[in-house]
Amino acid sequence: MIFDPFVLPFTIGLLILFFIVFYKFGGWIRKFSSEDKSNLKKALFSKNLFVACKEIFYESLLHRKIFRVNPKLGYMHMSLAFGWFLLIVVGNIETRIHSGREINGPFYPIFFKFFEHNRSTIPFSNFFVFLMDLLLLFVMTGVVLAIFKRFYSKFFGMKSTTKLKIGDKFALYSLWFIFPLRYLAESLSSAVYNTGGFFTGTTGDILGSFLPAADIYYYFWWAYSLALGVFFVSLPFSRYMHIPTEVVLIFIRNAGVVASKQYNTLSEIEVNACPRCGICIDKCQLNTSLDNKKIQPAYFLRDVRFNQVKEEIATDCMLCGRCEEYCPVGIKLNNIRVAKRKDFAVDYIDNYKYLPPDEVAKADVIYFAGCMTHLTPSIKHSMTKILDTAKVSYWFMDEDGSVCCGRPLMMNGKDKMAAELIENNKRKILASGAKIFVTSCPICLKVFGEEYNLGIRVMHHSQYLLQLVKENKLKLNLTDNNIVYHDPCELGRGAGIYEEPRELIKRFNNLVSNEFEKENALCCGGSLGNTKMSHDQRNIIAKDVVLQLTSDNPDILATACPLCKKSFTYKSSVKVMDIAEIVANSISQTEPEKIISRKEALMNA
């Protein structure tokens, strides 16, 4: 077998890497529930495997999602990952053709240019030399960009780059050296044996003209091998663990394993799959408005991985979901954050005896304003006006004050306390016999829809109002107001409701679009998910958002969440209105029959 001692660092490093990675993977697989395990087994022998492979190709090698968010950053990741991958594949093909053997030492293709000087026996040898040089050049551009990014992240349009742990430093610096060393080693070898192509060959000629190439090239192969060895050994202890982990993660997801509310094995794999690309830091308003660069997932997940989560980091996050929306690995970031908060939460079964006795009314529709809406009474008034006008048979469930939906407690990791409230509300809702449950608060919406298992339709008022309009139960006047619409986090990214509010506005007003809309919507700063922020900080965020949204001087800044309305009102010179108010204001006054308001009806009764 062809061998030289310099291949040892590489070979040993690779063995250690394989050992650790498989040990870790084995641990994870073992911890899965038996149901998940059987899903995984099934997926191994189904078309899921192909789907997963395709996704692995797109995301782990081409980094398509990073490309979408930031093309320069995408290119950097792609040239490194895909370029390296191709170098390995093409290198293997080349050496296999050359040696005619099926099996070679793992180092043989890597150091091929050291071992083989006579290319004449290789079919298509010129083609391979050219291709391998091209690929090396491709990877080198990625390395140059990566180094550049460390020192000048603004070039990538990024305001921040992540800070390094010790394992990361070893891995990062050795990675920087790998390809330049390979480039030098191959070039110097070429100066001696004329083995290079347009890239390494030319460089070799130049270097050879003033360096004693024959005396030194051997040491460069050593250095190259050492750099590889160091990288392999430090990889599992660095953020580069994301490379093998992401592959496994994609496969596991495709097998149908889903995230749960608890921190579990899948969460752990997700945590390890984060490359700390830093996209989340750039998208987070705690960074952009408040200059807080401590809490974003890039850091938070690192703390989780190394078991160093601090309460103030776990809780200082609005759960706005902007980071999750743009995370190229698709990690369920809010889930992990909330799950980790449970480690700090004091959660006990409270004594809820003070809750009011159940007073239930029979109706087709339940309207639940939510506690936030009680603080913005014009929204609930608009809703009752609309429901009266449309002659809906409804029960205003929390007219005399709400029993909390439970969501704020859950966001702060207090599931048991929330469960009590959920039971209380659920009993009443089912007793009313209603078929549709409408709420004005997107925070309530999510919990009623996802946690209550009511078996009836749960709708946000923007959806329900659109339905009333479509069913011709509401006649609205046209206005020429220019309205910009703000997507509340919980309604948009949280519940995927982007179109209904827009359609509702568009039918009677001019809808103005804005850069920060839909998935890219900003958080108003009022979030209940964050218990650490001060009101001052919230106001700074709200002000920044208002400036962005009102840049085209609209007549109205519309939203569909009482909390957003409150946050904006203090900071906006443009009128802030909930979508229900806009609808209520344009209810056609030419309605033939007089509307008897519920208030009057009750008074007369």
Partner: protein, 356 residues
């Protein structure tokens, strides 16, 4: 030739400082954005703590302006200013250009827009009004009734609306609203002896001369009730009365109470004029968005721009008494400056600055 001073804002501070500057021999031009002098004072019938008429103070101030032959320009709006040799050139609407050696900014405050505190229901429930609206009723001699013309049996006053409230972004105390609530509740009792009056407060700030006496009188003579606790929300009952939810922090329990009329004691905010003029003149704003004076104790009328000075509540909430004193102080600070003292840098040369 006499030196010239332009005073921006014809409220209490602008009027009184103009009178004093004129008395000191300067040629004074007073710019007023409306067609009347007097500012907010025009809207107040009786003044705390003596219950004397606001009108009397207006008359006093007018007299000063007239005697001093102050050149008053009404409906004035500043378009831009330029620094010229030892002074300023100011362009107004109507293309009037004024030159001056010093500028005094007295742009004052606006009342907090109570509809921003939506949970208190102003603008939504008919029986929620502001302290300014109540005063207007006193001023016009209107009967105090609920929206449907009935005599209210119970009235609530809510202190600190838009003040001392981090959520709305105003953390300062507006200083005058506590004692105004006391004054107005006494007036209610004078008009409607049968009506119960409740004040919902966080702390009562009765710091001024005779304020405490007025507060005691309101309890002992008039039977006004004071409940310590911040209102969390107000909603409307079926009959149009207002249900307030408040935590009584002395009794330590949440309580609900229905009132027929709810009066919101709205606080001070930097006026729109303060914001505009500040931008045009490059003046610094402090943390509370009022103008920032060069020193908290010693240079209370001095701005960051040489030759520009402040008086009145454009630097923070003030009572009428304090505003008048401040206006006179500003006049003498300007006299000091125009006679050649480097007042803007006075503190720099002393040891004090080093420790600040």
């Amino acid at each position: 030739m006499n030196k010239k001073v332009v005073v921006i804002g014809g409220g209490i501070a602008g009027m009184e400082s103009s009178a004093h500057l004129a008395a000191l021999g300067y040629e004074v031009t007073l710019l007023e954005k409306t067609d009347k002098l007097g500012g907010h004072l025009l809207n107040w019938e009786k003044l705390f703590p003596t219950m004397r008429m606001g009108k009397e103070v207006v008359t006093f101030l007018n007299e000063g302006v007239e005697k001093g032959k102050v050149n008053v320009i009404y409906n004035a709006e500043i378009l831009n200013t330029k620094e010229i040799m030892n002074g300023f050139s100011i362009t107004l609407n109507n293309n009037i250009v004024l030159e001056s050696d010093a500028i005094l900014v007295t742009t004052g405050y606006d009342l907090f827009d109570a509809s921003k505190k939506e949970e208190y229901g102003f603008g939504i429930y008919d029986n929620v009004i502001t302290s300014a609206e109540l005063e207007e009723k006193f001023m016009k001699g209107e009967k105090i009734t609920t929206s449907d013309g009935k005599i209210p049996k119970r009235i609530g006053f809510v202190h600190c609306v838009g003040s001392r409230d981090e959520k709305v972004g105003n953390t300062y105390c507006s200083k005058v609203c506590c004692v105004t609530a006391v004054k107005q509740s006494i007036e209610i009792k004078e008009h409607l002896p049968e009506t119960d009056v409740y004040c919902f407060y966080m702390d009562l700030r009765m710091y001024g001369m005779h304020f405490e006496a007025l507060y005691r009188e309101s309890q002992e003579k008039w039977g006004v009730n004071f409940v310590r606790g911040r209102l969390s929300e107000a909603c409307e009952n079926m009959d149009g009365s207002i249900l307030v939810k408040v935590e009584d922090t002395l009794a330590g329990k949440p309580m609900k109470m229905s009132v027929d009329l709810l009066v919101l004691m709205v606080g001070f905010e930097p006026s729109l004029g303060t914001k505009k003029v500040g931008k045009i003149l490059n003046l610094q704003f402090g943390v509370n968005r009022f103008f920032k004076t060069q020193d908290q104790h010693t240079l209370t009328n001095v701005s960051n721009v040489k030759g520009i000075f402040f008086a009145g509540s454009c630097t923070g909430p003030k009572t009428i008494t304090n505003t008048i004193t401040d206006a006179r102080a500003a006049a003498s600070t300007i006299a000091n400056y125009l006679s050649g003292h480097d007042i803007h840098n006075r503190i720099m040369t002393s040891d004090i600055k080093a420790t600040v």
